[in-house]
Amino acid sequence: MTPFSYQRPDSIDQAIALAGADSRYIAGGTNLLDLMKENVLQPRRLIDINGLPLHDIEETAGGGLMIGALVSNADLAWHPQIEQRYPLLAKAILAGASPQLRNMASTGGNLLQRTRCYYFYDTATPCNKREPGSGCPARDGRNRIHAILGASAACVAVHPSDMCVALAALEAQVHVDGPHGQRRIAIEDFHRLPGEHPERDNTLGAGELIVGIELPGEGYASHCAYLKLRDRASYAFALVSVAAALELDGKTIRRARIALGGVAHKPWRIEAAEELLCGKRAEQQCFATAAERLLQGAQPLADNAFKIELARRAIVRALSEAAGGTVR
């Protein structure tokens, strides 16, 4: 690791005042330190935010929950309110990483994970995300794990998080604080597609700090499923994952939320696909129609065409599982 200085502020205001172009906030550090060991990132200063008062999970006036940015992934997944009211989120978190990593990784940091594209990690190769303008070897290189949706000429990386896929389906809000004050960002608008600026994973401004994630009151607790498909049974990133949530009236779908992981630069959600399910009977045929709509425009690379059919079937299966009732 390249040497850096270390600071540990006690308050959010202090942390934000310390932030600059040469610094990074560190919480769990499970991804940041890995990237620093590989020299993908070389901050001159680390600002340790673990002393900030962002460790709690509290009910909001609107009937939802506010999750402090420093709550660990493990504490979040096993929190009674999350297990009971938002099992989709608990399932997604427990599908990711390992128990050791979940004990360290923070909620805010999970949103800020970088892609696991091999070329992004390998400083001996070009990468537009790491070094803007240097090129993308993945597009014509090894791209089995890469994007089938929303990619650009500059970048075909995918976002690695499971948690964020569930947050997208649950329509969470990201609360941030920064040099220009506090604001809320819908999860939909937090991560971005690569376009011509793949170096920007998200819409956070300079010095902005995630302080919490707000879940709305509706958690789709009785009919949800998180399906993750990967190269081994555990502890691997998703090739395709699906967060499916339904609100049913008997057999009729009143509301549906579907988000995909492992297929794009951000959790992939198409509201038009969800609307196709409204008022329909919860059965395979309409699930397949929704899957078609979600995958409309999918463009495979040389090694990942399998992801399109895998995603199609995974969507139908996840929706079928959700319709059958949440498996507790």
């Binding site: 600071q7 006690d10 200063r45 680390l46 002393g51 128990p99 050791q100």
Partner: protein, 174 residues
């Protein structure tokens, strides 16, 4: 701002205190020293292994405030005041920890390199709300790889020892 000298932001040595295997230690660390490197090199606690150094293999698993973590992916300076238990701190004198004894009884290793991490991880699992079936143990031990493939015996050892370790923890908590 914290009273730690590091708060000033200088590149240099920081002082931290740890309760390391039950012993209070005052230590000088550089900000970029991982917990794993602190344990192995200056402290000579080489039971904690460096496998991949990227959080993928679990050989460096230790118990930080009772919870299992990868010591390779965290900085020592971040844990001022923490309680840390490594494989060296599990036995009580000459008496092996029940999880260690189970690993010996089941011959749950071949080369032994992953073993300290496996054992610390399994002891951490005993404090969690999971691991109550063979399938769950397999899933919740997936962060510890064994290149020799000793998994069947590792699983048998953990399955046998978990109830006793859980019971001991509950007693200690009283």
């Amino acid at each position: 701002m914290s009273e730690n000298p590091s708060a000033a932001g200088a590149i240099g040595t920081c002082t931290i205190t740890l309760v390391l295997n039950g012993e209070h230690r005052r230590l000088e660390v550089q900000p970029w020293t991982t917990l794993l490197d602190l344990l192995r090199d200056p402290l000579g606690l080489s039971g904690t292994k460096k496998g991949c150094d990227h959080g993928q293999c679990g050989a460096c698993t230790v118990l930080l405030n009772g919870r299992r973590i990868n010591s390779c992916l965290t900085l020592a300076v971040m844990h001022d005041g923490a309680e840390l238990t490594t494989i060296e701190g599990l036995a009580r004198g000459a008496e092996l920890h029940p999880m260690q004894a189970a690993f010996v009884r089941h011959d749950a290793f071949q080369c032994g390199y992953c073993t300290p991490g496996q054992i610390c991880s399994a002891v951490g699992l005993a404090s969690e709300r999971c691991g109550y079936s063979r399938e769950e143990i397999r899933e919740y031990m997936s962060g510890n790889l064994c290149r020799c493939g000793a998994y069947p015996n590792i699983l048998a050892a953990i399955e046998e020892a978990l109830p006793a370790v859980r019971g001991q923890k509950q007693e200690d908590a009283r």
